[in-house]
């Protein structure tokens, strides 16, 4: 019997369908729930403290309002930690897990293009992380910001949500390539996200242009908090490229690395260790 080869879009959709459930109910989701539940728990604690008339956060003796605390959480927890860490753990695992579990052979023997496997899995990663991270941000926002301040701050929340979605997409794309190309993708991913990116942002020069964080921070609508020596240095050498420049580079990274990742998957011979 001759099986007809499935189209790229239909094949990606099928892989997405299969991978979303697998991703959502894997052990990695427990880690994601803990990572994303942290800010929600913190927001509840801040809310309780504020309800007793105390201030949860003070800067130079001045009380920081609900939206200010939300801005700090977006910077410190979501942009600096949650988005890169989810990108690293999920992005690098898209292909690496199949190789490690020795199930990649079954996928590659299906009558679908190899690239569609990666694209389907990448879309499942996007759906999975968007569905967990964005509602969490929404809950944190409504816990921290008094309803009376919603009209004046809601525009910033939309920018934050868009930025986090773009961040997840770009980091996911970059680490999908890392996962497809390198043998120890998790280590390389962690070094890139928490070594290279942090260091280059804190030193003067144009090296920071080879990071994702540089363009992400250029789009954040909140003021950058100073929480330590690294932040102070990063703040000192911070440049603010125009929004369109940031967006153009982020989309270029996304498209470029996703293309490279599919090319690698199409061409690479994965040797399964016995």
């Amino acid at each position: 019997m001759i099986t007809r080869r499935m189209g790229f879009v239909e094949a990606s959709r099928r892989v997405f369908d299969l991978s979303l459930g697998e991703m959502l109910w894997s052990r990695r989701t427990i880690f994601m729930a803990l990572v994303v539940g942290g800010p929600v728990l913190l927001a509840i604690i801040v809310r309780v403290i504020e309800s007793f008339g105390m201030s949860a956060l003070r800067v130079d003796g001045q009380r920081v309002g609900g939206f200010g605390v939300f801005g700090v959480m977006i910077w410190m927890l979501f942009l600096r930690f949650i988005v890169p860490v989810l990108g690293v753990f999920y992005g690098t695992a898209l292909m690496a897990d199949e190789v490690e579990d020795k199930t990649i052979t079954y996928l590659f023997t299906r009558p679908i293009s190899r690239g569609s496997v990666l694209v389907g899995k990448y879309l499942a990663y996007l759906a999975c992380t968007f569905l967990v991270v964005l509602p969490s941000v929404m809950i944190v926002y409504f816990l921290l910001v008094p309803f009376s301040q919603v009209p004046s701050t809601f525009g910033n929340l939309l920018v934050d949500l868009g930025l986090l979605a773009l961040g997840l997409a770009v980091y996911g794309g970059v680490f999908a390539f890392v996962g497809a190309f390198f043998k120890r993708p998790l280590v390389i991913g962690l070094v890139f996200a928490f070594g290279w990116e942090q260091v280059t942002l804190a030193i003067p020069g144009s090296l920071k242009q080879f990071t994702i964080a540089f363009y992400m921070t250029g789009l954040v609508p909140h003021a950058m908090p100073s929480d330590g020596v690294t932040s102070v240095l990063q703040g000192m050498f911070r440049e603010n490229p125009a929004a369109w420049v940031c967006l153009a580079w982020l989309f270029a990274y996304l498209g470029g690395f996703l293309y490279l990742a599919t090319r690698v998957v199409e061409r690479k011979e994965y040797i399964l260790e016995q």
């Binding site: 759906a127 009209p151 003021a223």
Partner: protein
């Protein structure tokens, strides 16, 4: 999504996101009154402030009177005689009976010549209406009614005055009086009755709602006041183009406060920030190593981005101790 568990998860998370986005969009773009789900939309007295008010100010008199700072400087206050005389006549103890005061300015043509005609003061206090009425009648005032509220009116005796100060005191609620020109007090009663008051002015209420932890504050539309206040053209042209401003302070053991202004454009805001930064640097230089003044200058901070400029300060009770010691030291030197 063949798995039922996955479908449920996607539906629940999607709903959380959709409800949040929907609520925010409705609140932001469809004019949902900000007070719907919030008790923090300013004091209840705002319902008597006409919607065209350009400046609104509030002071929690009770909080300020009970503050550690006020208790500390109580001994420095002038003699009680004049206060006792006022209390005897009106039955109102300013220290014990007044809870809060709201003041509003409704800019009108000719405001520069007759500022009293544009003001409205709302005071929440425990007062004796009959005693106040009797006192007013003794001094030639008249008692009338407007929309079921009792008004004590006093006509300006100067009949040749083109802008007469016809003032009124209205008993708006059992513990709330309105004071101002007759037009202002009537406008306050109408504002409450028709529900067309400052609470429905979203631009103003955004500023009110941004104020947190303050027992005295003021917000306003700067250009509306500047255009009616009769400021000479030379000065007006040199003034920075500010559209909105807000000032908030908290008095307890120390004093902290923030002044925020929204400029017409980013360039003006940047110039203002630079100018204030220059003044701040000069103040820090002047303070030198004088302990009290140096700490005071250090507590000043300029912030803001885009169109906004903000200046905040915090004077702690320790800093007041220091300033008090410096002042006492100086007094001692003068006496010697």
């Amino acid at each position: 999504m063949s798995n039922r568990k996955t479908r449920y998860f996607v539906a629940i998370m999607g709903t959380v996101l959709a409800v949040g986005l929907g609520t925010g969009l409705v609140a932001s773009y469809m004019g949902l009154p900000v007070s719907v789900f919030s008790s923090a939309a300013g004091p209840d007295e705002l319902q008597y402030v006409p919607a065209d008010a350009a400046v609104v100010a509030y002071a929690n008199v009770r909080d300020v009177m009970n503050s550690h700072l006020r208790q500390r400087f109580k001994s420095l206050e002038p003699s009680q005689d004049s206060r006792n005389e006022f209390e005897e006549k009106t039955g109102l103890d300013l220290e014990q009976d007044v809870d809060s005061v709201v003041a509003a300015v409704m800019p009108k043509d000719g405001m520069a010549n007759n500022p009293a005609g544009s003001f409205l003061i709302l005071a929440r206090a425990r007062y004796q209406a009959s005693r106040l009425e009797a006192l007013a009648l003794e001094h030639g005032a008249q008692v009338t009614e407007y929309q079921g509220k009792r008004l004590i009116t006093h006509a300006d005796p100067d009949l040749n005055d083109p802008t007469p100060d016809n003032m009124a005191l209205g008993f708006l609620e059992a513990d709330l009086v309105g004071f101002g020109s007759i037009e202002s007090v009537k406008a306050a009663i109408d504002a409450r009755a028709s529900n067309r008051n400052i609470v429905s002015n979203n631009d103003m209420m955004k500023l009110v709602n941004e104020i947190e932890n303050a027992n005295a504050w003021a917000v306003g539309k700067f250009d509306a006041i500047a255009s009616k206040a009769g400021i000479p053209a030379e000065i007006a042209s040199a003034m920075p183009a500010i559209s909105w401003f807000s000032a908030a302070g908290h008095i307890n053991g120390g004093v902290s406060g923030t002044f925020k202004a929204e400029a017409k454009d980013e360039a003006t805001a940047k110039n203002l920030r630079d100018l204030m930064g220059g003044f701040l640097a000069m103040a820090k230089m002047q303070a030198g190593n004088k302990p009290g003044m140096q700490q005071l200058a250090d507590s000043l901070a300029i912030s803001g981005d885009g169109n906004t400029v903000a200046l905040s300060f915090a004077i702690s009770s320790e800093m007041i101790d220091l300033l008090e010691a410096v002042a006492k030291g100086r007094q001692g030197q003068i006496r010697q």
